[in-house]
């Protein structure tokens, strides 16, 4: 279980390079993600959480450092090519789904994540039963809206769909960027529990950014505190279990 999937080595990212606003976001950040890790990430605004995800996702290239996937250098692989091992769920419900396409169509797109899109019929009928069954697991009525354009779904249903889409084709790593933050407390809580269930049942490797310290403590087997572009704390197993919200705050002040 401790085989490293992804390794970040001495990652540095600089924004507004060459201007007076030049800022270094990630400062020689090192992180090893092992198979089966469910890592929750906390940190104040501007700590570099989203930048970290963007560097892993490939839509921001590191200014120096190296990224290894199963020991292979993927530092220069672009965003689209990284999707063969990586899936993401964004904070904004609008970002994760195509609004004019139906729920089933979105799921079909996601099932071919990272694959070449060919000029062959999509064969929706062969997939629809399986998709409906998967949608039922979210317990929010999504399965009744398979032919609805996702633009007409509620925010909660959209985020649940985004999460399902990210897991439909098993990713090596899934990045959850505050994916429940835009939802009301109840819906958010439901989705978080569904997320946790899915990740632990399927032994997915996941990174989850959250602003709720309680959630960060409750979920996952590993907790990372990001501060000022570096990892201030990386707590696992028992260490994490013993942690309380109070002593987690202390890491923020370091």
């Amino acid at each position: 279980m401790t085989k490293p999937i992804l390794e970040l080595k001495d990652i540095v990212t600089v924004v507004n390079k060459g201007t007076s606003n030049e800022t270094t976001i990630l400062k020689e950040l090192n992180l090893t993600i092992n198979e089966g890790d469910f890592i929750t990430i906390v940190g104040s605004n501007g700590a570099g959480k989203s930048t970290l995800f963007n560097v892993i996702g490939g839509n921001l290239s590191a200014d120096s450092g190296q990224i290894l996937l199963h020991g292979e250098d993927i530092t220069h692989e672009n965003e689209e090519d990284r999707t063969h091992f990586l899936s993401r769920v964004f904070q904004d419900p609008k970002l994760g789904t195509a609004p004019r396409m139906t729920v089933a169509e979105n799921m079909l797109l996601a099932e071919k994540r990272g694959e070449k899109r060919r000029l062959v019929p999509r064969h929706m009928k062969q997939h629809i039963d399986k998709f409906t069954k998967i949608a039922t697991t979210m317990n929010n009525g999504l399965e009744e809206r398979m032919s609805t354009a996702t633009g007409n779904l509620s925010g909660g249903q959209r985020q649940a769909l985004s999460f399902l889409m990210a897991t439909l084709k098993r990713p090596d790593i899934i990045l959850l960027d505050e994916h429940t933050a835009a939802l009301d407390p109840r819906t958010s809580n439901n989705l978080l529990h569904a997320t946790n269930e899915r990740i632990t049942q399927d032994h997915l490797t996941a990174l989850m950014i959250t602003h709720h310290l309680e959630d960060a403590l409750k979920f996952g087997n590993r907790l990372i505190v990001l501060n000022n572009g570096t990892i201030k704390a990386d707590l696992r197993g028992e260490e994490k279990d013993k942690l309380t919200a109070e002593n987690l705050y202390e890491y923020f002040e370091m």
């Binding site: 996702g57 839509n59 965003e79 689209e80 090519d81 999707t83 063969h84 899936s87 993401r88 964004f90 609008k94 970002l95 994760g96 789904t97 195509a98 609004p99 004019r100 396409m101 169509e105 079909l108 797109l109 996601a110 071919k112 994540r113 990272g114 694959e115 899109r117 060919r118 000029l119 062959v120 019929p121 999509r122 889409m165």
Partner: protein
Amino acid sequence: MSLIVSAIGQGLLWAILGLGLFLTFRILNIADMTVEGTFPMGAAVAVTAIVHGYSPMTATLFAFLAGMAAGLVTGLLYTKGKIDILLAGILVMTAAYSVNLEIMGKSNTSLLGHKTLLSSKFFEAMPNYFNSVFLGMVVIAVITLILVFFLQTDLGQAFIATGDNEKMAKSLGIHTDNMKIMGLMVSNGMVGICGALVAQSNGYADINMGIGTIVIALASIIIGEVAFGELTLNQRLIAVTLGSIIYRLILLAVLQLGFSANDLNLLSSLVLAICMMLPQFRRALHLDRIFKKEVKSHD
């Protein structure tokens, strides 16, 4: 009567332009001005090829390829060159003017005495103007069927997703730049075919025949949407063709009121502007409510 048949024929032929622009304007959500250059390019290429002895079929195919090439240039400027799509389209449209002049060697080439797609015995046996109706129907049917098939493939769905939510498409591994380039190529290729067919139907190609094409294309799309409302994607493709025919009939009606052909572009723009503002009018005047009331009073 023959005026109406002629208008329907023109509507069918020009619908290819509307369908081409539909791919970029409605599916990719971008406004591609290139069509103002690729329409006369298709005409220029086809007419020049026919005059040089190529068969009308081959000449029309050349027009398709020329349109695709122009679309490729726009696509590369837009995706790789990071030039705004409106500007990229205007650049290629402007450059196309010179290219078209080079192709024809002069500003107007006649097809008088040459064979066209409309000059087979089969077509000549038909009554006046029915030939372009028939040709238009066949071409539109083939193109619509191909598009319906394409949009239901994995590639077609990735293409739709690119226009619908690019960030999401990218996060699913869809190479959105390639989708945009493909869309611009196919779209402008179709516009090239449209130019080739209109030139063969008119019997000549003119360097200025592209002026106003984008308005005509938009008019077919928008009139189709205003007239038929909520539709599925496949139905919307058919609505574009019907919109194109309605547009020609509206123009015919307006010309009958005594306007001259010189006013055509002014009228086209007016018709399009009115159609685009229709939803606003409806809201302002509460026409929706009035319509609903009427339905109720009937039952």
